[in-house]
Symmetry: C2
């Protein structure tokens, strides 16, 4: 039996959940896959309506869901309310995109010069298994970005509830069931499986009906699931969005002219949500001359902070172990920094470590993410060491540069170097806070993710769950409506090289 | 030492090639990766010019290349001349796409309501390793669709020459070197490695600088390379386009009213290039009542055919073994059908096997590709058995339906079923012959390919070699030109939800 805890107190929650067994998983997958036919057949308007209805019902049940999530995560009501709003925005974004038909990417090349009539459309990949994140019970949860994007592609979803929030997950799945029924769609289009044992997730990834997987979490689990998907007798893509160190580079000018504002912004980003963000800035590259002052400013803020709960006892222990392990090649300052803050809950305090590039150059561990409120300030001699560090950096979700207007030219090489290794590069900001928009890229080269071409946030998240089909000389009446000559859905289509909403000539042929 | 043979005679070619050793591979990868910076920095116009120059030089050297390819493949001069034209068309298609900037997919979301300015662009993935196909020494060769699409994405390429055509490969690589020099680009941007041993390819897939792999060939090798890419300490995507059975469904009406034309077209497609096409129709589902007549017609054509050379002795043997193996559950008719046709070269004759769905239902081997000029006619009772077979079909590059206009409504369910399993569905045509166009999809669910979302032919082949980068609040002067506010390249960009070539407002902010 699975039972969650309240991180702030360490107390067990009253509800108990049965782990899904092999038969339940098999049956759920079969039902979900069958429900896929109903989703795949939906016109854009109906798919959009479903996603908007989910957002509406989420809004209606906001307080109940936020309370459940707070009980299981202790992330704070304000934060969780904001996350619920974001979850609704995500659903609305995908509703708009699905409704416009943009995601279908219709491309038509009418017959010419002996070549046949060719019509290409993005179609749903099939049943998608989603592994939600520990740190976003709503926005990366049962109705989060992965599920919403899969539904927007017309794919049914089997969600493996995160064992940290089974109650929130169950409530979200019930909500989804109500909405699906209201839309006269099979409830099995979104199926929930509970389980803390790796066997549940493994059975799901191995299931022959599952055609794609989304995971948000640790490098160890994400890369194991990715390889598992590749090792199946019929391999499937696994989109794992994993950890990242999100380096920040700060120039001498900023440390000289705006040291307080920079340190405050950085510390807030490191400490936000108790450092439990995949975009938490974990490494700060700073000019040698300014490093000591920056570290001193940050440690004042550490001292003024109180320990706060991590999402689980395991995470609190991993944070403490990771932070203490830094002592081998960094200075941890404040005695006791990074150690668990009390026995009642899973609390830990923030920590700021400091070291120098000359000391850590070549240390692979430098680039390992430590989940929680710790950052390492790395003193560098000159822009050359910044650029060298940027070139050594493994794939990262983000990389950030802080510099004054007068220093822009000097960091051009650094700017190119970070863009070559990160999915998103940020100027004079902090990496926590991922805008949900078409221009967003949340992903990056391994180990940030297992699929560098994909994003898990924003409109393009839908592409992960699609595959194109080309119809050659296909009769109009058997084509999907999006490709029919008369263009009955009035979609924008790439027709013989031009984007248009016009019907195509084959209709008159 | 590696030495190719002439399939028509079985004789060894005079040229010998040294197998690339670990040091050569390492050095080639390092040089190629370094050359990537020059490619990645090219404006769309210059990238387009490079691709057009390659096409021009190919055309200029056409006869020499065709003669070399004929010596190593015995595919026939006419076929190889056609393939060279196609190879040039592919380069021109990618030249036009790269020049227009469409491949960059620029998306801009200017700052609003507290959200930052976000600019998203497709960027080159990095060094790509390409494994060309045996059966297309030019169109899937050293300057074929995989290499051309990688260059169009701005990626350098290390090509592992197919051991069946080392001379053609070397001539193509030299040609590319001349063109790159002429464009003042580093020759290492396209590097050739020779080798017949698996170790050469494995070292390339394992090389830490390689960021993506393209392979065209057998299921066994393709899926092994795919898993190898996933098992690296830093996994990379492997796009393997592998075999396919390309089922054809023919209705009672067609077999009654146009039996000769259908049989002729089918046999030509089966026998084209001696059946050495990944889109060769391998299975023909036919109404029971018409099956005997169709088989008789096809076997008349078999009898009138002469044995022709396969690309290698190994392939000729595999063809013979595969065809003879059909005897377990199909009738092979003509004695000696499918056996090698002579000791001089690697020749084999075509074969038509026949069986029934009731006999093979549940046989996994039914769906195994046999490379070479053999097809299996499967007699089915009614549309229900057609639909059942379509639902059992593993992922396929193509699926084809032949029916009369009056029968269209009756095959609607079959049409949906084949579209759910194939990358391209064809109406009243034959699957061999892949049009190079934006609307093409050449790929499909496993085992047709390892990445169902990707195509290896047509404009979208470029997407395999890109990853998006999002620039957040990035200063205009450090942005790639494609994203700068003034839109100096005059690209079509998705700006705040609308496609436009206009500059964006940030320029005035």
């Amino acid at each position: 039996m699975l039972q969650a805890s309240t991180p702030a107190t360490g107390e067990l929650r009253p509800s108990r959940f049965r782990e899904a067994g092999p038969e339940e998983i098999d049956q759920a997958a079969a039902l979900a896959a069958r429900a896929g036919a109903a989703l795949a057949g939906l016109p854009p308007r109906a798919l959009s309506h479903l996603l908007r209805a989910l957002a509406g019902e989420l809004r209606r049940c906001a307080e109940e869901l936020v309370a459940l999530a707070e009980g299981e995560t202790s992330l704070g009501l304000e934060r969780l309310r904001g996350e619920l709003v974001r979850t609704c925005s995500q659903l609305s974004l995908f509703a708009a995109g699905a409704g416009s038909g943009h995601y279908l990417e219709p491309v038509i090349r009418t017959a010419a010069g002996g070549a046949p009539d060719l019509r290409r459309l993005q179609t749903p990949l099939g049943l998608i298994a989603v592994f939600p994140a520990a740190n976003f019970p709503l926005a990366f949860g049962v109705l989060g970005t992965d599920v919403a994007s899969a539904l927007a592609a017309g794919c049914p979803v089997a969600v493996k509830a995160h064992p940290g929030h089974p109650e929130t997950s169950a409530a979200l799945a019930q909500l989804a069931g109500r909405v699906l029924r209201g839309e006269r769609l099979p409830e099995a289009a979104l199926t929930l499986l509970q389980g803390a044992s790796p066997a549940v997730g493994e059975a799901l990834v191995d299931h022959p009906l599952v055609q794609g997987v989304s995971f948000t979490g640790s490098l160890a689990v994400g890369s194991a699931l990715y390889r598992r998907g590749a090792e199946r007798s019929s391999p499937i893509p696994v989109f794992a969005e994993m950890g990242s160190v999100n380096p920040v580079f700060v120039t001498e000018g900023v440390t000289r002219e705006q040291p307080g504002a920079f340190a405050r912004g950085l510390f807030e980003s490191v400490n936000l949500g108790n450092g439990q963000f995949c975009t938490k800035p974990g490494l700060v590259f700073c000019p040698s001359g300014a490093s000591a002052d920056l570290v001193a400013l940050l440690r004042e803020m550490v001292t003024a902070s109180r320990p706060r709960p991590m999402l689980s006892r395991r995470m609190a222990k991993a944070y403490a172990a990771g932070t203490l392990g830094l002592r081998e090649w960094a200075d941890l300052g404040t005695p006791g920094a990074g150690t668990p803050g009390g026995e009642a809950g899973f609390s830990v305090g923030p920590a700021i470590a400091s070291t120098s590039w000359s000391r850590v150059r070549g240390h692979a561990q430098l680039w390992d993410e430590i989940f929680g409120p710790v950052a390492i300030v790395v003193a560098c001699d000159g822009i050359e060491e910044f650029e060298e560090a940027a070139r050594c950096m493994p794939g990262s979700l983000t990389a950030t540069i802080h510099c004054l207007p007068g220093e822009v030219r000097g960091v051009a090489g650094l700017a190119r170097a970070v863009a070559a290794r990160a999915g998103r590069v940020i100027w004079r900001g902090f990496p926590t806070g991922v805008t949900v928009a078409d221009a967003m890229q949340h992903g990056g080269p391994y180990p940030a993710s297992t699929q560098p071409w994909a994003t898990s946030v924003g409109d393009f998240a839908v592409r992960r769950w699609q595959r194109p089909v080309c119809y050659q000389n296909w009769p109009d009446q058997l084509l999907p409506k999006a490709l029919q000559s008369a263009n009955p859905l009035r979609l924008r289509r790439l027709l013989d090289g031009h984007w248009t909403r016009q019907p195509d000539r084959r209709g008159q042929a």
